[in-house]
């Protein structure tokens, strides 16, 4: 077999291995499975996306909103459903189990078992007539059994595929042969009650396991009366109650009597951080933040509500979580109470619930609540053991997937990767990162097969409507209740019908659901529409999806406009329904006016340079570099220091005991030796120009200037340790940072070796007014050091003075181990920080730490030979410059700000630029590695295409009006405009490849000759006139 090596810069393909198959199996269609499937499909692989449930979406589809941005969960996830269902390289197999797995990496044979749906996928239209007539009312699992559905039903309203299925356990026919009404009412003959299971054999090169997690079930142990007391519910139950598609259509009601509860209590750590039978010893990582989210949302629904949280440590350890916690706890009538609790009783008559808890001053109290929410944690999936057996992978002691201790995406079996919460508790962005990372690792194995099996997407031919009068179709979205609860959608539709040029107007529950998208394309064709306005959410997230829909309808994608009546209307005027409805009408009117003037535009393809520039030679940058190079891409890795390694050079071992230096040296060797990785140390980026697919960077390498060309960029510049100014640091050599302590332990430093007492102080330099964030790693770092110190000398006193111990996930086990090994923990409040002083007593020089112990209720004076400060992780000084060079934003804390906190965690809003590692936020080594693979995977989504589409919204010149004044030329720093000879003489002309469409030149032109397409004066005037 010969390979046609493409003459594209930066691409080095090795000879293919014959056995590798370019297909990938993704098991589990939650958000991480979906992301893995999309990334793989976009990088030229064919994907089987298998889910055992009747629709993809996973747990995320059950959530109402997501922390810490409060984004609507379904709204951000459902466009991905559609992307999957439309993707020519993805086959979605729902209601499907994996039965057998044979073979090895590069050549797995997998037997899939498709359980009967009893509904024929190719015939069902999703009309739901069968649901209407089905007599079997059953609890709706999607709504946590808080509402009823039928034995035949659609899983949820945005489900993909959007067709019904029959639950064999509740169908009267399938159980007792009693009823077959549905067969009769279905006009499409789509129901087949005799459908048989189907067995499908597929061959794939690698496998991604993303089966997700199971929610901890408090009913099993009857925790806190769950299952017996009506108004005690889990957080997932409450999530459904908050949701507009939930049991009470988004109104907060309680199950016992349907009344609006006034006092709600949340109990944290239910099923987590427990060593009793049936509990999980680990921390579930997400519950603190989701509880805060639920409080913010509940208070938004009902501002007068009282919310009380009974908690242990508040673990606000991720980006922006500290502020989120402050936001939730700062709301009126919200109390956070640090106490273990027991449920008292259910009060007869009211069904209210009492909770007993301990207070600092007043002893044990009993308080009455209308409703109690249990913040339940994450369990391994119920079928984890079967999956492990089937795929031949190991599980860890908690029953989640066992992974390589330094690569959290790698399972114990070659060619099989894990994505998302099957690895252990994590939040959505981490699940998405690991999905992209799994994609990158599959790509590393299957690189030679890239594109072999991939299919191209085909669109219907574009209809030429330039000669037609505008016929605008307006679709007004309820967005469940997100819009409909505030804006009177039917009134807006009626109003739209009366507007000039409007030929069709209708409402839709979710414009972004698959069936609606399909319906919009159908309506475009049936009604001969030539402009489409969708009044829904923001174009910044949904415009690509709807443009695609318009293309499916046979129109040029620029004949589309979005009226943002959610972010800019219903969500910001939620208490002024009439005004909001009026505003929505105005917005729609502006949009219709604009759409009537829209012109068709064509996008064009620009070649993609296949090389990548990675800035920062720490573990993050090196991991990305090695993965990309192994996938056949050229990498330029630049490091400002004289050696690679970054912060990891200062780490000895991980919490789990892995030798970091050995790992680091191995990685460095691999990077240095790889022929496709060009390492430049002592290197600095001077300037970058260009855009996605075509960047040019000027570097200063050891004093010599050079220039490289590349198609993508990964920013992996890391973070640095804060240099404390407090607690005698820098004045007394016995005061050191946690990293210095780690090094001193390793070096057998006499100060530490002979120390009888060591005191560690947490949160030094962060979680304060200046740095309002948690550095995430320091609690674990201190535990690690404490365990080491105790192991060396068990008689030694080790104290950790902390605010909240944030040993999330499996790290909790080590926290417990430390406590078991007599490490003493003392909590302090920021208003009463510990004080460190150097004293001399009985001729002995000591450090003394004064601290108030809230448990003993008294001040302590601890004597120490060493005081270790858990110094904050802070952004490096160069971030500002880099942010300006790449036109990417920084977060308020000075770290780089990703495009979307949940679903685009390693992308920037600027195309072709990605980030990973501590440049994003402080994180542990394994998290950095996971993110580095994620960034590599995302970058390859760009580089695996030979071209990138450039927007059609660029400038052009009407030469009749051009007076050759050059005003536009002087304004354009892209050098996109120049004077050219034309039939009308020398006139300004635009180079479409260089024009980036900002439109600054338009405002400089005295005659209006130069115009930015899609944002012309005419279009903007039409909006102003209609406002």
């Amino acid at each position: 077999m010969t390979l046609n090596i493409m003459p594209i810069e930066g691409l080095n393909l090795k000879r293919p291995a014959e056995s590798n198959l370019g297909d990938v199996l993704v098991v589990g269609g939650g958000i991480s499975g979906i992301q893995a499937a999309l990334d793989l499909a976009n990088t030229g692989f064919r994907v089987y996306l298998v889910d055992k449930s009747p629709a993809i979406g996973g747990r995320m589809s059950q959530l109402d909103k997501t922390f810490p941005s409060n984004d609507c969960s379904m709204c951000i996830e459902s466009p991905k459903f559609i992307e999957c269902s439309r993707h020519p390289n993805i086959d979605i197999l729902t209601n499907t189990d994996v039965r057998r797995v044979e073979g090895k990496v590069g050549n797995f044979k997998v037997q899939l078992y498709r359980r009967p749906r009893y509904v024929l996928e190719d015939k069902c239209t999703g009309c739901t007539a069968c649901v209407e007539y089905c007599p079997a009312q059953v609890p709706d699992a999607y709504n946590q059994n808080l509402s009823l559905t039928k034995a035949v039903h659609i899983h949820f309203s945005q489900a993909v595929p959007l067709i019904t299925y029959i639950d064999p356990k509740t169908c009267l026919y399938l159980q007792d042969d009693k009823c077959n009404i549905c067969v009769g009412v279905c006009k499409h003959n789509a129901i087949d009650l005799h459908q048989k299971p189907e067995s499908v054999e597929i061959e794939v090169g690698s496998i991604v396991l993303s089966p997700g997690y199971q929610i901890f079930d408090p009913a099993k142990r009857n925790d806190y009366g769950y299952g017996k007391i009506k108004n005690v519910m889990t957080s997932m139950d409450f999530e459904r109650i908050l949701s507009s598609t939930g049991p009470y259509e988004g109104e907060i009601r309680r199950p016992s009597d349907g009344k609006h509860p006034h006092r709600i209590a949340w109990i944290q750590c239910v099923g987590s951080r427990q060593v009793i039978p049936g509990g999980n010893s680990y921390c579930s990582s997400v519950c603190c933040a989701y509880t805060q989210k639920q409080i913010i949302l509940a208070k938004d629904h009902a501002p007068e509500l009282d919310a009380t949280v009974f908690h242990n440590d508040i673990r606000a350890f991720s980006k922006d979580f500290e502020r989120y916690y402050q936001r939730a706890s700062g709301l009126s009538d919200v109390r956070f109470i640090r106490s273990y609790v027991t449920i008292g009783r259910e009060l007869p008559g009211t069904n209210n619930v009492t909770i007993r808890y301990a207070t600092d001053g007043e002893g044990v109290k009993e308080e009455e609540f209308d409703m109690v929410v249990l913040s339940v944690g994450m369990n391994p999936p119920d079928d984890a053991k079967e999956l492990a057996n089937l795929f031949g992978v190991d599980l860890n002691k908690h029953g989640f997937c066992k992974t390589n201790p330094l690569n959290p995406i790698e399972t114990s079996r070659e060619g099989i990767f894990v994505s998302g919460t099957f690895h252990g508790p994590m939040d959505i962005p981490e699940a998405v990162v690991s999905a992209s990372g799994a994609g990158a690792l599959c790509g590393q194995i299957l690189a030679q097969q890239r594109g072999k099996l991939a299919r191209e997407r085909e669109y219907p031919k574009e209809r030429d409507v330039t000669k037609e009068d505008p016929k605008v179709g307006v679709f007004v979205c309820h967005c469940g209740a997100n819009i409909g609860r505030v804006v009177n959608v039917p009134a807006v539709v009626e109003y739209a019908k009366g507007l000039k040029n409007v030929a069709h107007a209708q409402e839709s529950l979710f414009a972004c659901s698959t069936d609606n998208a399909q319906q919009i394309s159908d309506v475009i064709r049936e009604r001969g529409l030539n402009r489409v306005v969708i009044a829904a959410c923001t174009p910044r997230t949904h415009e690509p999806l709807f443009r695609d829909t318009v293309r499916e309808g046979g129109l040029n994608q620029y004949y589309f406009d979005m009226a943002n009546i959610r972010e800019h209307c219903s969500w910001v005027h939620s208490r002024e329904k009439e005004d909001a409805t009026q505003k929505a009408k105005d917005i729609v009117r502006m949009s219709v006016a604009r759409s009537s003037h829209l012109q068709p535009l064509s996008e064009f393809d620009l070649p993609v340079n296949k090389a990548t520039l990675i800035i920062g030679g720490g573990v993050a940058g090196m991991t990305s570099a090695y993965n990309m190079a192994e996938q056949g891409f050229e990498v330029y890795l630049i490091e400002k220091d004289s050696d690679l390694g970054g912060m990891a050079r200062r780490l000895q071992r991980t919490l789990e005991g892995i030798d970091v230096q050995a790992f680091l040296n191995d990685l460095k060797n691999k990077v240095f030796r790889h022929p496709s990785i060009h390492v430049y140390t002592d290197a600095e980026l001077l300037e970058v120009t260009g855009y996605i697919g075509n960047f040019t960077s000027r570097l200063n390498v050891e004093g010599r200037q050079m220039q490289i060309r590349h198609g993508a960029v990964i920013i992996a510049t890391g973070a640095v340790e804060y240099r404390p100014e407090e607690y005698l640091y820098g004045q007394d050599e016995r005061v050191m940072t946690s990293l210095e302590l780690e090094n001193s332990i390793q070096q057998q430093d006499a100060r530490v070796k002979n120390a009888r007492g060591v005191v560690m102080i947490q949160c030094v330099g962060c979680r304060n007014a200046e740095r309002n964030y948690c550095s995430r790693v320091c609690c674990t770092q201190s535990i690690k050091n404490a365990l080491k110190l105790k192991k060396e000398n068990p008689a030694r006193d080790v104290y950790i003075i902390f605010r909240d111990m944030r040993t999330y996930g499996y790290k909790e086990d080590y926290y417990r181990e430390a406590a078991d090994n007599d490490v003493r923990f003392i909590r302090y409040e920021p208003e009463d920080k510990p004080r460190v002083s150097a004293v001399e007593e009985n001729g002995e020089k000591l450090l003394r730490v004064d601290v108030y112990d809230p448990i003993l209720g008294q001040r302590l004076a601890l004597d120490a030979d060493v005081v270790a400060l858990a110094a904050a992780v802070i952004p490096p000084p160069g971030n500002q410059t880099l942010a300006r060079q790449f036109k990417v934003p920084l977060s308020p804390d000075g770290f780089f700000q990703e495009a979307h906190v949940k679903l685009r965690p390693v992308d920037f809003a600027a195309d072709g630029v990605f980030l990973c590692g501590t440049a994003h936020y402080p994180k542990h080594l394994t998290e950095t590695i996971s993110q580095a693979y994620g960034a590599a995977g995302r970058a390859i989504c760009v580089l695996s295409s030979d071209t990138v589409a450039a927007s059609g919204a660029i400038c052009d010149v009407n030469i009749n009006n051009c007076v050759t004044c050059g005003a536009c030329i002087s304004a354009c720093s892209y050098d996109a405009i120049s004077f050219q000879e034309t039939p009308k003489g020398k006139k300004a002309q635009v180079n479409p490849i260089l024009c980036k469409g900002d439109g600054l030149c338009n405002t400089k032109c005295p005659t209006g000759a130069i115009y930015l397409k899609h944002f012309t004066d005419e279009l903007i005037f039409s909006q102003i006139d209609a406002a």
């Binding site: 005027h573 505003k583 600054l1000 406002a1027």
Partner: protein, 255 residues
């Protein structure tokens, strides 16, 4: 004149796609509330906002115009159009002031994609400020006809303003304060007076004469400026053959 208590100002908002529009989105996502006064138009860069747009919005009866862009140094584009937006805003304010309109009706702010809360604050503040200022024209004690004339006069000089901006007023400073200092300072004030303000007055005179012939006094009264100033412009315009003195009517007329 005190504004009516129930006056609800209408604001036209031009937001750049990358920062302020995203900030307004985040504001919604975060459920920060603000008055329903603003109608938003998305542009790719605040530098795309033409004075023509601002004028058009006022002509269509908007009480305020808001321009939102990226913080200086954070523009998504190499062209850094937000600096130009800042100059545009200062010129716009001067033109409004020259025409007797409250310059505070035009407001520019930097709002980043992560500043959802700031968007709500700015919108609330601007709305309240406009409530104090009152409805466009009426707030300045101006009749509808005069208002229309003033706005049309400004619109007519805009191409000329662009040329002057390019030739004389193209400046680049580090921060907002320096821009304010420059545009409020003697040099810019003199340039504006010499290069633009006079043109604006002539533009108004020409518009007035479009409907009927007028005496110097009548023109002075309508424009609210003194007769000797008007006489100067009339002489100049006559010399440029833009207008003529009708001996029969003893009034000025268009050529």
């Amino acid at each position: 004149m005190r504004p009516a208590h129930d006056f609800k100002p209408r604001i036209m908002g031009f937001l750049c796609n990358w920062c302020s529009y995203a900030g307004a989105d985040l504001c919604g996502v975060s459920r920060y509330q603000y008055p329903p006064s603003v109608r938003i138009i998305r542009v790719m860069c605040s530098g795309r906002v033409d004075l023509e747009f601002v004028l058009r919005a006022f002509t269509r009866g908007m009480d305020g115009v808001f321009v939102g862009g990226c913080w200086l140094g954070e523009c998504h584009y190499v062209t850094e159009g937000n600096y130009d937006a800042l100059s545009m805003m200062h010129l716009g304010k001067k033109l409004l002031q020259e025409a007797g309109l409250n310059p505070d009706r035009l407001r520019l702010e930097w709002i980043s994609a992560s500043q959802g809360n700031r968007f709500a604050e700015v919108m609330t503040e601007f709305t309240n400020e406009l409530k104090e200022i009152g409805p466009l024209g009426a707030g300045e004690g101006m009749s509808d006809e005069t208002l229309a004339l003033k706005l049309e006069a400004i619109r007519k000089v805009l191409p000329f303003v662009k040329l002057v901006e390019r030739e004389k007023l193209r400046v680049r400073f580090e921060n907002k304060e320096q821009y304010a200092e420059y545009f409020d300072g003697p040099e810019a004030t003199r340039l504006f007076k010499d290069q633009i303000a006079d043109k604006l007055t002539i533009s108004q005179i020409l518009l007035l004469l479009k409907d009927r012939m007028l005496t110097t006094g009548e023109i002075a009264a309508q424009l609210g400026i003194n007769s000797s100033n008007v006489a100067k412009f009339l002489t100049e315009s006559s010399r440029q053959r833009l207008i003529r003195f009708d001996q029969a009517e003893k009034r000025y007329a268009l050529v």
